[in-house]
Amino acid sequence: MGFLDRDHSIAPPGFNRWLVPPAALAVHLCIGQAYATSVYKTALVKHFGASLTEIGVIFSIAIVMLGLSAAIMGTWVDTNGPRKAMFTSAMFWVGGFLIGSLGIFTHQLWLVYLGYGFVGGIGLGIGYISPVSTLIKWFPDRPGLATGMAIMGFGGGALIASPVSQALLKAYDPNSGAQGWVASGDAVGKLFLTLAVVYLAYMLFGAFTVRVPADGWRPAGFDPSKVKAAKLVTTENVSARNAIKTRQFWLVWVALFCNVTAGIGILEQAAPMIQDFFRQSDGKSLVSAGVAAGFVGLLSIGNMAGRFAWSATSDVTGRKRIYMMYLGVGTVLYTVLAFAGSTATALYVVLAFVIISFYGGGFATVPAYLRDLFGTYQVGAIHGRLLTAWSAAGVAGPLIVNSILDAQGKPGQLTGASYQPALLTMVALLIIGFVANLLVKPVDDRFHEPRPERRTSSMEA
């Protein structure tokens, strides 16, 4: 398996760096399927005779494993390079689908937990971070654009997987024409097998296309001294072990956690929330279920577009400033949503779209932010550790919103006013995140890795 080693994936002279983003996208588009599990959720509930919560645990295990594996395997990914990491991610992700399908065919829910949740979740974590540090090294002049392109794929993966899965479930289930049809377990099992084959092909394409730049490579015309002109952008390097000892790491962790928690709160409730905001006095909503589904689709596009657009913009504005926008402007937008969101559908839709674009932008900008603060040396590993903020927010966001809404009334009876306490809680969180981001300063010299020339000069002295 030596062909997977980092040394075998060093780019030859003349290699076009624009081949690296599609390689990264190939992996992220596949693992982004994790956000399309709602397509077969009801089918699995029926097949296993389980509750929604029991089936929801599959996704929860996968997201927890994403955070844990990214944090634990980050240094391994940086050391072994993107090819081995993408290959390993493919084996875990595809293995998860295969084990999961076995669980569905044999009516063993625990096998689906083990397969899609545990094994697949490891593939998610390794796959998510695998191309990040490589892209940053290929695009030192535009790191935000590069990581935005890849991480946009994670948002885009669900957009592809949802309609494809629906079409495949219909094709695999002979009863798909029946009224009130719910896909059979057999159809979901076959869907898993099909996705496994397609994702294996795509992820291996990514693994064998990706290359790392040779030592000392830089883009033609790129002047590193201009990058240094920005106060927060370092030319030094900090190891992952040292990075977590710095105040900066934890301040960015808090900023990301607050941004993600606020965004997840809206994303998770998107469809019922828009209906509740426009509920009339007779209890009926002006927004139909079909329109609400369209709104969820629009948010998915906002999430994906924000990842690319805002992250690319951060190359011009700087990472700290754009995070100030996500958190500062986000605070204002959430407040307007809380007090005026129910006055007009168009206003509500625009506010939610921009808020979710900030949510996506936060994810995509953070690798470049870490590069600015800690250098490129172990940025993948540092990014992996930071993603624990995502796991924590994935628990905190829905918990905050659901517990507050439970206290406000029953689903179907809630109105726009019922959401005010939850939205104002998010406003408070965003203010905390804004302050944390404001406190980010350059990393102290004592955390920097020694430079070879410094070592040499000290030995000569």
Partner: protein, 48 residues
């Protein structure tokens, strides 16, 4: 700015890999465009 590899000590002639580049972007671009199109079709209900 050029998008091709360049080492400080060795100026290599630019290797044309347009075919691979187009193939790579098409492989990821077509599914992504399909997904966005399908979603926009759903979004149309919002403005209908």
């Amino acid at each position: 700015m050029s998008s091709t590899a360049h080492t400080p000590d060795a100026h290599q002639p630019v290797k044309r890999s347009t075919g691979r580049l187009v193939l790579g972007w098409v492989l990821v671009g077509i599914p992504l465009a399909y997904g966005v199109f399908q979603t926009l079709t759903q979004v149309a209900a919002l403005f209908g």
